[in-house]
């Protein structure tokens, strides 16, 4: 039984990371209605930036903070410079191609700027395990960070004027423009926030293993897609729940299902398939009503 629980907590440890990237994906989807394939690679760049700062002697917490600010600005700039010019075009697939182009470009640029050798990211949390269940302290730390992230996001979206404007833009861009909201700024804000969230997630996940390289975020991004789809793309709560479920399901499947060894990636995808067949808009997603 203790094996079961330690696997569950392992899963939660990964799930928290998936959840925070999924949160970033959901944030962009809610404001701009598109899926950002480059989210992981943007986070990768931020992660390398954090690592570079710590290598210069900055403490890790401060480095993550600086990286968040820089990522926020970079994310907002990306929206303004790369995304917006193609978004108004007739073909909605164009934005997808742009994010795919960014995916390719950022990954290879990161390798060029920061080298291809694996690097070690210092951890924000103390090493070691806690209690009889062998819970990693970092798992608890990650959980706390995720809770703080959610709380701040909730406060921002539900309790501030800016948040109200953000929600207005995502629900009806045309009308919100008419009541005087600067929709362009809101879109930039959404992308900036997502990039900052990605910076946190990347910096924390990089510290988990033994060194990271440019492939760090690719698997994470896939699991986060799974988490976001599971929860429903327009629901931040769904993203968190989805990310955690995917993480735990993966950990348990590795432990208990022999046939799945080496192909654990199947687990989140089968999960999505089953959930979407029952609830086509995810667990917490809103149903889109079509008017005729």
């Amino acid at each position: 039984m203790s094996l079961f629980f330690s696997q569950v907590f392992n899963g939660i440890g990964n799930g928290v990371v998936y959840a925070s990237v999924a949160l970033a994906l959901v944030l962009i989807f809610r404001t701009t209605g598109l899926l950002n394939f480059a989210q992981g690679e943007m986070a990768l760049f931020s992660t390398y930036f954090t690592w570079k700062l710590t290598a210069q002697g900055l403490p890790i917490a401060a480095a993550i903070g600086v990286s968040m600010v820089v990522s926020f600005i970079a994310g907002a700039l990306i929206e303004r410079v790369l995304i917006r010019p193609v978004e108004s075009a007739r073909n909605p697939l164009n934005v997808v191609i742009v994010t795919l182009g960014m995916f390719l470009a950022f990954n290879s640029l990161a390798q060029l700027v920061f080298g291809t050798n694996p690097q070690q990211m210092p951890s924000l949390f103390p090493a070691g395990k806690l209690g009889s269940l062998n819970i990693q302290k970092s798992t608890i730390g990650l959980g706390i960070v995720l809770v703080i992230e959610c709380l701040l996001l909730w406060l921002l979206l539900q309790r501030t004027r800016v948040g109200l404007a953000l929600r207005a833009v995502s629900s009806n861009p045309e009308s919100s423009r008419l009541v005087g909201i600067n929709t362009g700024n809101m879109l930039m804000l959404g992308w900036g926030l997502a990039a900052a969230l990605g910076a946190v997630a990347g910096s924390l996940v990089a510290a988990k293993g033994t060194g990271f390289d440019a492939s760090l975020m690719q698997q994470v991004l896939l699991y986060s897609f799974a988490g976001a789809a599971l929860g429903g793309f327009d629901s931040p709560l769904g993203a968190v729940v989805g990310g955690l479920v995917v993480g735990v399901a993966e950990a348990l499947a590795v432990q208990y299902v022999r046939a799945l060894q080496g192909i654990t990636i199947v687990v989140p995808l089968v999960l999505i398939l089953v959930v979407l067949l029952v609830r086509p808009n995810g667990l917490f997603g809103r149903k889109i009503v079509e008017r005729v």
């Binding site: 989807f29 209605g33 598109l34 899926l35 790369l82 010019p85 193609v86 075009a89 007739r90 073909n91 909605p92 697939l93 164009n94 934005v95 997808v96 191609i97 742009v98 795919l100 182009g101 960014m102 995916f103 390719l104 470009a105 950022f106 990954n107 290879s108 640029l109 390798q111 060029l112 291809t116 690719q218 896939l222 897609f225 799974a226 789809a229 793309f233 080496g262 192909i263 990636i265 199947v266 989140p268 995808l269 999505i272 398939l273 979407l276 067949l277 086509p280 808009n281 995810g282 079509e290 005729v292």
Partner: protein, 365 residues
Amino acid sequence: MVVPTAPVATTKLPTASGRRAVPWVRLGAGLAVLAVAIYLPFYYTPEVNTTLSQVLYLAVAAVGLNLLTGYNGQVSIGHGAFFGIGAFTSAVLVVNHGWQFEYTIPVAALVAAGLGVLVGFPALRVRGLYLALITLGLAVVFPRITAKVVKGTGGVALVRPARTDLTSLINGLADDQYQYLLCLLLLCIVLLLTWNLMRSRAGRAIIATRDHEVAAESVGINIAAVKVGTFALSAAFAGVAGAMSVMVDHIADATNPITYFQLSIEFLIAVVIGGSATIIGPVVGAALLVLLRKQTAGLITGKEILAPAVLGGALILIVYVLPDGAVGGARRLTARLVRGRRGSGGGSGATPAVASPPLTNQTTT
């Protein structure tokens, strides 16, 4: 990702007047291009011919994806899986069962179509972004399951017999020339099928389903049949492309888990940069993509790591300059030229049907 709902202005729908006016210029140009395409393998070296064959199979897969994503509005980023199952069907039949390659092509198409139906049914429930994600999952899962299931000679990677073992029907041709011409023939068949389909009642149903599902249903179109059918046909084309790739590259390989995901992305890129919902667009896109990839790979010596960055940058640039793809851009250009000469936009073949309501033919006389 946004669900494509707006009618794409470049979509061609046949009209009575459209059939009357046979575009002789176009027919002539098409025949000229075909003649050049047939001559090419006798001009270039075997290496170039192999690359050209790769363009052709990429084009077949892109035409298939265009049918689904461009014409029917179901976004798939998992067509690599259909491509892969076609490739493995062909490879297993040739290597383990001693089939002649040419006979494996229809089998590959059928198997891929079967998988397409399997995916098409759940796809009825979900749409847009969620569908894209399910297909993405398919592309990611495919190589891992294949790696477990297929225990062919040499483990996972099924290598084709040496090139000399390929019994070609026409002995006068070198293998690379024969392969190229077979690929060209298959592409022509696929293009002809697509062209005819999109001019038919079924083709109009496919487009109507994309433009407005509820309206399409209310005029008596069986949405489920159209969607699943399109999925199956699209998958079959991708399967044929996979079989072609086995002939050209002599390998069906599932050892690299992201190969088929990358392929899926490449198909989508080919469709979009060539021009989605056009017949010839995906072919142009496939050629552009391979050209870009070849050119960017050797562009900066010593900094090979940068090649994907250049490719990515080039893709973004193309989308900027040609938002409706190369074919759409060319159409706009000719429309402008023709209009300039005639003084009105009426007679051009590409007048964008702005704000035309769904289900009315966008006149493209």
